[in-house]
Symmetry: C2
Subunit: 547 residues, 2 copies
Amino acid sequence: MTTAPASPGAHTRPDARLADARQVHPAHERVSVPGSRPDLQVPRLRVHLTNGEAFDRYTTAGPGSDPAVGLPPLRAAWVRERGDDAAHDAGRPVTQMHHARAGRITPEMEFVALREDCEPELVRAEVAAGRAVIPLNVRHPEAEPMVVGRRFLVKVNANIGTSAVTSGVEEEVEKLTWAVTWGADTVMDLSTGRRIRETREAVLRNSPVPIGTVPVYEALEKVGGDAAKLSWEVFRDTVVEQAEQGVDYVTVHAGVLRAHVPLAAHRVTGIVSRGGSIMAGWSMAHARENFAYEHFDELCELLAAYDVTISLGDGLRPGSVADANDAAQLAELRTLAELTTRAWEHDVQVMVEGPGHVPLDLVEENVRLQQEWCHGAPFYTLGPLATDVAPGYDHITSAIGAATIGMHGTAMLCYVTPKEHLGLPDRDDVKTGVVTYKLAAHAADVAKGHPGARAWDDALSRARYDFRWHDQFALSIDPPTAQAMHDETLPAEAAKTAEFCSMCGPRFCSMRISREVTDLVLQRDAHAPGPVAAEGREPAPGPRPSA
Amino acid sequence: MTTAPASPGAHTRPDARLADARQVHPAHERVSVPGSRPDLQVPRLRVHLTNGEAFDRYTTAGPGSDPAVGLPPLRAAWVRERGDDAAHDAGRPVTQMHHARAGRITPEMEFVALREDCEPELVRAEVAAGRAVIPLNVRHPEAEPMVVGRRFLVKVNANIGTSAVTSGVEEEVEKLTWAVTWGADTVMDLSTGRRIRETREAVLRNSPVPIGTVPVYEALEKVGGDAAKLSWEVFRDTVVEQAEQGVDYVTVHAGVLRAHVPLAAHRVTGIVSRGGSIMAGWSMAHARENFAYEHFDELCELLAAYDVTISLGDGLRPGSVADANDAAQLAELRTLAELTTRAWEHDVQVMVEGPGHVPLDLVEENVRLQQEWCHGAPFYTLGPLATDVAPGYDHITSAIGAATIGMHGTAMLCYVTPKEHLGLPDRDDVKTGVVTYKLAAHAADVAKGHPGARAWDDALSRARYDFRWHDQFALSIDPPTAQAMHDETLPAEAAKTAEFCSMCGPRFCSMRISREVTDLVLQRDAHAPGPVAAEGREPAPGPRPSA
């Protein structure tokens, strides 16, 4: 995020190395930034450069726990000190929003401010206003606090989870760790199939990032997979069980109203949200209103007692560019806006989910309407995919939409892997999805002019221009991949300081020639009298006498 | 591009199958659309669907020639009939712009109009106005006419070429064929190193798409790699030799004026264009103005006699987001605008090249200024990359910028492969680059509302919603990849008609549930009296009695 000297600065302590079983480059070091209390240590990734400088980046310290033991309960003391750990018995709100509205800066807010390089008061104010969320269940003390909001770095969510057809518990924990290693800021466990609860327990205890779920998936398993057999009671009990386990945020499709469903009947791709189709199915089967909508206040009371953030699912999101920004989608968004306000009355933190498949010219309207109607509540979008024609490349079709919607103010991007529409992502797909979304989120941060965002680009570009190849690899978003691609044609160590690569060869390297040219210019400027030096700054065609 | 019935339509002749050694899916058929003369046959890719329908797409017929023989000289008769083949001796302009301005619709313009599904007069008018180019050297009769202009489909260029460090002639022809198979609309042969001329000859004789070059690369080889030894004469002779061989467009960095160079001296990454750095190096070494600028009118006369399109190189494009839209870049663009007008005075077709590395918020300004200053001459951009931090993923960082700049009016996108900044792309990189750029170009077409563009998305999405898996693969931008990803978890043939995939499993497939739900709605609508059917169209919260 910021360039720091290699020697310890005011805010960093390089000797406080954090556990790091997942180092992706030898020049990477995990350091921590101490906060106002001894148990508040904020992780940073320090990249040591060959020119003696160093560059610090936002990171998550946690990955690499022993799955049998889990991660240490980082936040347990903070929660206990506030008495928030027992509040679910008293029914008292324990949410970060509750504390923020009361004017309190919690350790979680301070942690987040140190991560984001901003004032704790900004974090408090944004959370109090509902424009940002810190999704942290009091029962998930292993999680490192992070913030989702348009004033902060754009975040990336990775989906993992078993399905009835494939994948097991160990594999999901491995995917979680892998996703976090590459920079996932939150992870959703979307397991269906058997062993949902067991998978989630393993994921939570090993997760240093907030974990989200879609509780209706587990509720549906409980009733044998028949949406018509669902009920508010089954759903509520599932939410409580998940909250007890420590789930940090839940997607609830409370905005799929009965009256909205017919609006989707004539779409090219109908209802493509799993949760949305389940709720619509229930609603149509019973000819009754969505039970999550009907019992929304009761749901909020439950969530407030654990600080489970609600993510208002967009069950009617478009599943094809043809269906983008249509009546069904916008009718649901209006309802989500109403539910946002109702959740805030209970001090429940809220995110609002967004599409989906959207042609690039309609992307901005999505975030503009959402921010306007939902009073600035953080927008959390899936892509969106800018075209439907590229299955196998939907991490790219969606990164195009994601960078654009992020630039316009979306706070968190849900990744899409190359397997989207085709099958359950494996470990490689998870990495590709996360890295692709991290670069899209960073492109959005740069485009927004987020303070300090461009420093990373500049550090890498300076290394590139100086032919510091090892620094270029170390600074890149995926060092082993960058180095492996360079090694393919020039594996020798000598090539790692050479003033060219195999793309153009030594004779044609523009950057080598450019440095010679600009050196000439700079020498001339240094020796020339004022007017001649200034002359070069203005375009002035035509030959001139030699200086 | 358009949905066509499987039976022969008014404009198509499915029995006229074209040579097709590169069929990427069994349901693909190359058909041709006949024009006004027997030797005018425009290729189309027909995708036969399992529901009896068919979908036609824009394609290039050519790839798959025998490298020893080359492709047939498709346009030889057209050129001969006009007497354009001998004009370079008379110094008479033979350009498509010349004919267009004289009010003539050439067979090339008609060919292009049939490919693009538009009126030939639109093509003529756009070429005459300089808003579109048909890059076709009279000496490259193997090429299938195509058009570059903002009123037409966004095109994709792929770069191939040897470097001094790696790659051979056969490998480059193979890369050419591979690039065209996946949809490259033009190819630039950027060979440096030895055997430049031999490589180019093999590429031209086997290329069904226009071939571009950067002549200063070969000129520099002729003078032993020392930019200071270059001269207008060496450069001019090289251009004439390449024009004689059949090169369709040449990038010339005539806009890198001596006075612009100092503007780049304080950049993060200086001059990153090879041609730009060579011209700046020459200019600084001799303290003289850029020789291509000085001799620009003479250059245009040469190009006009072969109909070589000039692509005005952006030698001062930004090589990092820090340098985007800076004084050096914009000073050069002003010069390119001046050169555009001068080239048009010679009836030379013109494209203007653009960046490079540009943060997403500055992308639109690039195309807006270029279109304004250069009087609508087609913009041809490299990416742009939206961030510098992801070497190894620069096909993606740049596809983000490319889709955006395409949406705003860029006519052709120069691809970037995953190897950008790291090494010379191999065959796999070429495919990844082309497919990525084709999806970005299509996303731009959809966002622009280009007539018929979205039909492809709709056809694929309908196949997806109907669980016609084989149709989804056949319609996708890369059928073998889509099918291989599906096969990874569900290889059995039965899975190719199953109403689910491994992502969610059978119980949770939203599209299956959605179809059940919407069927219910549609049945209810069909049986209900008017007011009840209408009621569903308005959002109306709250439970209702069962219908």
